[in-house]
């Protein structure tokens, strides 16, 4: 972190980076503005030229995190061949984001730190991510692959499952359980996700209309 010139160049980005690295290596409890400045190789007053206060730095990171999450989800949906497959990919993308940006993920769901009420941008970015999920569910409904009356519920259930798995995994619980089960966390999550999608698509229509399900393919439920 040695600089040759007096001016830094892009201290704002450097501070955000240093903060994330610090969270990842020593946890959220280790984060203070002074410490972040030190990690960035800069005096303790320097950050105030880029962030109004400590909360502003954490907020900026949280907003950035939500925007990245939304980007992950948009990309996942775009890459999927159809809306049903997109649903699976969205869950996977959510968990993948939490794996690839653990510090940001934690920060995003620590409202007392990122203060979303003071920074509506974070909420907006969060909405954008959730909207991708809602839209995808709506597409599934439009395609006849999901029943309309449960669409909203399924979107939230999907979010809950992905969020729960991501959270447990980050805290080490999934590694522990999967070791007990003789498997590994990544496979476990994949299995859960695909099982869930299969369950939803194969079974929910009969709950609202007993007719056959278009788009799911031949050789459906054999029971």
């Amino acid at each position: 972190m040695k600089r040759t010139s007096y001016h830094h160049g892009d201290l704002r980005a450097t501070l955000m980076d240093a903060c994330l690295r610090l969270i990842e290596s020593e946890g959220l409890a280790a984060v203070s503005l002074r410490r972040v400045a030190r990690e960035a190789g800069v005096s303790s007053g320097a950050p105030y030229h880029h962030f109004a206060d400590r909360a502003a730095l954490l907020s900026a990171l949280s907003i950035d995190g939500f925007q990245q999450l939304a980007a992950y989800m948009v990309a996942a949906r775009a890459a999927a061949p159809d809306s049903l497959a997109a649903l699976t990919e969205l869950g996977a993308a959510y968990v993948r984001f939490s794996r690839e940006h653990p510090a940001q993920f934690r920060l995003m769901f620590r409202p007392e730190l990122s203060q979303p009420d003071k920074h509506p941008d974070a909420a907006a970015a969060g909405d954008a991510a959730f909207d991708v999920l809602v839209e995808t569910v709506a597409e599934c409904v439009a395609a006849g692959a999901l029943p309309a009356d449960r669409a909203d519920t399924l979107a939230v259930a999907w979010w809950g499952l992905a969020h729960g798995l991501a959270s447990l995994w980050l805290d080490g619980h999934l590694e522990k359980r999967s070791a007990q089960m003789g498997t590994h966390a990544p496979e476990l999550v994949d299995t859960i996700m695909s099982t869930f999608t299969t369950l939803i698509t194969a079974r929910t229509p009969p709950l609202s209309s007993p007719a056959d399900i278009p788009g799911v393919g031949a050789g459906g439920p054999t029971t």
Copy 2:
């Protein structure tokens, strides 16, 4: 918090209580040993007669939380008419615990605060709670209501869903989404839980041979 006698009587319990109330009213960031002592109406050195240090207090609360959670789950299973119904009740009990003990729930899943590595009791209590879920799934398998090869997976999925919904709800996300959807968080959670149980029980048996699954292949989300 005025005492009449010099001795307190049960300062240990009072401190734990004060700490929980503080977390609930001002958040985890407000918790310091001095502050907790102040809330309990006691000098800042007094807690050290009952807890080795700050971490010990938080640890004790976390352990107590896991034990209570396990008790919730044991009671839920005991009250259910059969093992399949128990599964639904377990998820509901998990979420109910998080609603009735929000401060403890947050603490339990903040490993950097409760330091489970230094206090194996917390891990043991957590295991006990998870074991209730695993046993119930095993009972479902024994009763022929669930396929054996997916039992473990379903237990983790169930935990993930309950944990995700509880976490999102505590952070206010569920209230927000359910308001957008014209419903309320409690009903939303109930619907999701019962839908999930229905899906699992109605559909999983045919899944035991993955080759039969149409559409979403056996390979899972990983291309």
